[in-house]
Structures are given as C-alpha cells and as structure tokens.
Amino acid sequence: MSEVKSIERDPLYVVAPSIVSPATKRAGKILVWSTFLLMLIIGLIQTLHTFEKIDFGFSNWRPVLYSYILWAIAIGYSRVLIYGEKGKRNLFIFPAVMFIISIVIFPMLFGLYISFTDWNLSSLDGRKFNGLDNFYQMMSDPYYWNALKNMIYYVLAVLVEFAIAFLLAMLLNSQIRGRKFFRIAFLIPLMLSPVAVSWMVGKSMLEQRFGPVANLGRYLGWETPTFFSSPEIARLTMMCMDAWTFIPLMIIMLLAGLQALPKEVLEAAKVDGANKWTMFKNIIFPIMLPVSLTTLVIRIIFKLKLADIIIIVTAGGPGGATDSVTSFIVREYRDRSNVGYGTLLSFVYLILIIIFMTILIRFVNRWLQRAA
C-alpha cells in the first residue's frame, strides 16, 4: 500500500489485474542471471586469451558483444516476467536507455581511462599509463588554448546570426506573396552537406584567382581578395560559411514562434496607434523571448560541434586562426595518432561545455522567470 502511495498516479492510469505467479518470477530471474553468467564466461575467456594465458579464444571481442546484447534482451524480457503489466510499461523506455548506456557511458568510461595513457595507435607498444602527463602537456599547449579562444569568437557570432535570422523571419511572417517559394529557398542551405558546402563555397566560390566572390571583391575595389591568408579574415570567412548553413534553422524556429503570436494583441496595439518599432520593442520581442532563447541555446549547441567545414577548407590554418576544438583534436590525432592526448583534450572540452551550458541554461531560466 505504501508503495502505491509513494509513486504518484501515472497520467495513463488503469487498474489492471496483474498477478504474476512465483514460478514465472523465478524464470525471469534465472534468465537474467544465466545470460549474465554466459557473458562473464565469454568475457573471461577472451580476456585470458588476449593476455595469452590460454591459447583458445576468439579472434576479436565480438562474441562478448553478442552475449552482452543477449543479456540486455534477457533483462528486458524478465521485466515482463517479474513485474507483469508494470514491466511492460518499463519496456517503453528500457531499450533507449540501454542503448545510450551501451554506446555512450561505456566508451566514456573507457575514454576516461585512455585519457590518462600515452597511446600511439600506430606503434606496437600499446598503451602506457602516464598519469597526469597529458594534462600538463595540455596546460602548456598554446594551440589548444587558441582553439578554445576561437570557440568563444565562434559562439559570439551566433548573436549576429540571430539578428539576421530574426529579421528574415519577421519578413517571411509579413504579408507577402510567394511565401512558400521563399521558405523553400531559405531552407536549402541547411539541407546541404557541410562537405559539399566546403567545396562549393569555401574552395570554389572563394577561390582567389577566379572565384565569383573574389571577382566581385575585385570589382568593388578590393585589390587582393584572399579569404584565408590573414587570420582575422579567415576566421570571419569561416563564421560566414557556418552562418550561411545554420541561419535557416534559426529562421524556421523563430518563424514558428512568430506564427504562434496572439493575433488579438497585435491588432489591439495597431488600433491604439502603436508604430512598428514600439510594437516590436514592447510586444513582439517580449512575447518571443522564450522562443528566441530556445533558438539561441540550440544554435549554440550546434556551434560547439563546429568542425567539418574547418577540417576540409582550412584545416585550422593559417596558424590555427580558424581552429575549432574539434578540428584541432582531429588534427592532433591524424598527425601523431596519439589517442590518449586527444581523448584528454576532448574530455576537458566536454567539461567546459557542461559548465558553460549549465550556466547558460540557468541564466536563461532566470531571465525568463523575471520576464514572466
């Protein structure tokens, strides 16, 4: 009885007679433990085989993976055997949770370990535990700090993108003809693969001898239109290319918000003689605040993953001016194939992101509460 009280009522609640016989319960438990044991045995054989303690075994770790999957399925099935109807409800989220734990949590734990090792994949020595050496190396690695500094610039560029996207969304939401055409045209950059964009824009249109943008630059009086030779211009170019791809996403989200604006309020303001600017400042912007902040947060999340176009177009150059953290780590891995150091760098980046996002989301929530 106390059990029922402690868990509040489900939104979908029906008193279902669910009597599970002790025999079925026992079968469920046996199923889980036997498959677990099987996985343990296969894992043990493979471990001993890898360390050359025994000479029979498998050529790779896949059998362990299979037995793990079997075990996971057994756990899921046993939920139904042991808990009946309640187990069936658990089964809805169980696969997704299990999937994420298997593919994220395990590699992360493994990654945490290899970030404290010196492990060159191409050398035959294998991994060596080297404690905090990677960390000290990171502290004195100017390129990593430079990449982090670039990320700050890249994230700040989101504000400019937001302003452009907001303007375009407002225009799309006004009384215009051919809205469907404009919407499709505006959507297209988002659909294109970053790889194709890298070539189409970064490599060909910005080509300094005969790319159309360079020609336009020359026509406008810029004598040497080079886009990737000076650090500032190179960074600005990368920002523009990334903005080109992702402004459509912001337009779509903001447009959805604008279309959901209460029509009566806008009509009333118009009748009261409010002009366009006061209407925007006092009505549209405050009502749009939640949508705007959501859009910004999502855009920043995508921005923090920025890598593809940098890897392909500039490979971080000139002198690391366009490096994002991801592209730097990839280069670090490609050039020296040092998995240990690269993993440590990415984990430090992850921790910084988590701190940053936590502060950002808390700040956003406080702002929203004050506005409401």
């Binding site: 868990i7 489900d10 939104p11 979908l12 029906v14 050529s59 790779n60 770790w61 069936k88 409800r89 089964l91 809805f92 989220i93 696969p95 997704a96 949770v97 994420i100 593919i103 994220v104 590699p107 990654g111 290899i114 006004s174 215009i176 499709i184 045209a185 297209i188 950059p189 659909m191 693969s193 970053p194 790889v195 194709a196 890298s198 070539w199 189409m200 490599k203 060909s204 005969f210 790319g211 159309p212 080109w244 989200m253 903001l254 939640p290 949508v291 923090l304 993953k305 890598a307 593809d308 890897i311 392909i312 991801t326 990839v330 891995y333 998995v339 690269g342 993993t343 990415s346 992850l350």
Partner: protein, 298 residues
C-alpha cells in the same frame, strides 16, 4: 496630416524594401547551387575566366559528368568512377535509413513512455530521464569518437555498416525523443484509457490507437534524421575506410586530392546535394514541422 497618398507611398516603398531583402537573401541561398551546377558543365577555360551564364557566356560541356560516368555518352558503358559513386551512394542510403529507422523506433517508445507513465530509476524521475536523453545532444561527437574508434577496433566493427548505424542512431536519438514527446503529449489520453478498460494491454493500445495518430510526426522525425545522417562527415571520416565509406567522406577525400579538376568536383558536389534539394522542395512541410517542434514549447 496623414493623407491617403502618403500612406500608399509609404507602403509601396516598404514593400520594395521587404521584397528586396527577401530576394537578396534568396540569391545568397541559391547562388552557390547555381554556381556548382553550372561549373559542372564548364571546361577548364571557362572556369578560369569565371564565366557565369551557360550558352551566353560559355558553351556547356559534359566533361565533369563524363569523368563521373553520368554523361549521355558514358551512361551505358562500363565506368569505374560511377561504380564507386553508386557504391558510396548505396552505403550512405543504407546507413542513414537504417539509423533513422532505429532511432525513430527506440525514440518513439521512449517518448511515449515518458509522456504516459511515471518512472523511477533510483533517484531518476521522469524529468531527469528526459534530461538524460536530451543531454546527449550537447555531447560533441569528438568526445565519443576516439574511445569508440578504439573500442570498434577491438570489436571488429571498424568500417562496417552496423557500426556506423549504431553511432548515427545515437546522434539522432535525442532529436527524435524531443520531437515525439510533443507529439504524444498532444494525443488525448482518454482514447487509450477506453482501450485499456476494455482489456487491451498497453502495447496493444500503443500500436493500434496512438501510433496511427502520430504517423505524420514520426514521418517528420524520420526525414529530419535522414538528412542529418546523410550529411554526417566527422564520424564517418574516422570510422570508415573502404567498405562502409559514405559519400561525404568520398567527396572530402576528392577535395583534398584533386581540387584543380573543378568540373569533376562540381559534378560530384552537385550529385551529393541533388537528393537533398529535391527533398527540400517536396518535403519542406515535414522538415519545417520537425525543426519547429522544439521551438514553440521551449
């Protein structure tokens, strides 16, 4: 004194401004595609002169497409580049559709569970579980990439389709859960309660009653995932080498190896983009719906 004619003039200049900005942005969005499409029909001379308009500025040639094996005179003959291209195309299609399908299945179940039942895993309640799912979106791929690379090597999953499918499923799963949670919340619970009172199990009521209602939502989640997987480059570049190599990886390697052959690169880029542009034109409604889903509720 505001006269009728001044209002008229004002609104006309405003209209011109609005359409001017919209057309300018349309030009910015579409010009790279126009440029790529025309460049794929140029010869070396017309590329270096920076010519823009076919038939007027330059005479179109099939050179770029011939090298790829897609020009009218080579389409029925043996062509290694075309075989290569089609193999990559098939890989990409297989991996992205399987990954999207798996993500939609797992994600829909999870989203339905979260919208209908209260769970308790240790200290985690429903909001915590939702956050656990959505927080995967923040995880940059680079954090997973190297450990997964090493694990895949041990598991013999490097350069396999199944390995790529699992990784892609992971990257799009949070997006599916995000979209589908709103979809399920919009379905009235009374429908299922009636079915449950009649003695149906939760799974039967899910498949028979709820699923048909949310099919449009599932379609837009699926399409969005498909696009994201289709374009993914970073993970594919690390994990695949020959068997499971996807199109973006192939194009990227061509960019670094033969960037001088513009007509060739333009043809490949155009071929990579074409399916997505077609998708944008015909499936715009679904794509927009999927992306706008998160914005409104916040």
């Amino acid at each position: 004194m505001v006269t009728a004619s001044s209002i008229m003039k004002n609104s006309i200049s405003e209209k011109v401004l609005i359409y001017g900005i919209l057309l300018f942005w349309t030009f910015i969005c579409l010009f790279p595609i126009y440029w790529t499409a025309t460049t794929s029909f140029k010869t070396a001379a017309s590329v270096t002169q920076g010519l823009l308009i076919p038939w007027i500025d330059f005479e179109p040639s099939w050179k770029g497409w011939r090298n790829l094996g897609f020009s009218p005179d080579t389409i029925f003959t043996e062509s290694n580049p075309r075989e290569e291209f089609l193999a990559r195309f098939f890989n990409t299609a297989l991996i992205s559709s399987c990954a999207s399908g798996l993500a939609v299945i797992l994600g829909s179940f999870a989203a339905y569970g979260l919208s209908r039942f209260n769970y308790k895993f240790g200290f985690m309640r429903n909001p915590d579980i939702s956050f656990f799912f959505l927080s995967q979106l923040i995880l940059p791929p680079v954090v997973l990439a190297l450990p997964v690379l090493v694990l895949y090597r041990e598991l013999d999953l490097l350069d396999t389709h199944i390995g790529m499918i699992l990784l892609y499923t992971l990257t799009v799963l949070p997006i599916v859960i995000w979209i589908m949670r709103d979809q399920f919340n919009a379905v009235p619970i009374e429908l299922e309660e009636a079915a449950l009172v009649d003695g149906a199990s939760v799974w039967v009521s899910f498949f028979k009653i709820v699923l048909p209602i949310v099919i449009p939502g599932i379609a837009s989640a699926f399409i969005l995932c498909l696009i994201l997987c289709w374009n993914e480059y970073f993970l594919a570049a690390l994990i695949t080498s020959t068997d499971a190599k996807t199109m973006p990886v192939m194009v990227a390697s061509q960019i670094s190896s033969q960037s001088i052959k513009w007509w060739n690169m333009a043809a490949i880029s155009a071929a990579l983009c074409l399916p997505l542009i077609v998708a944008a034109i015909f499936l715009e409604r679904y794509i927009v719906k999927g992306m706008a889903a998160g914005a409104i509720k916040g």
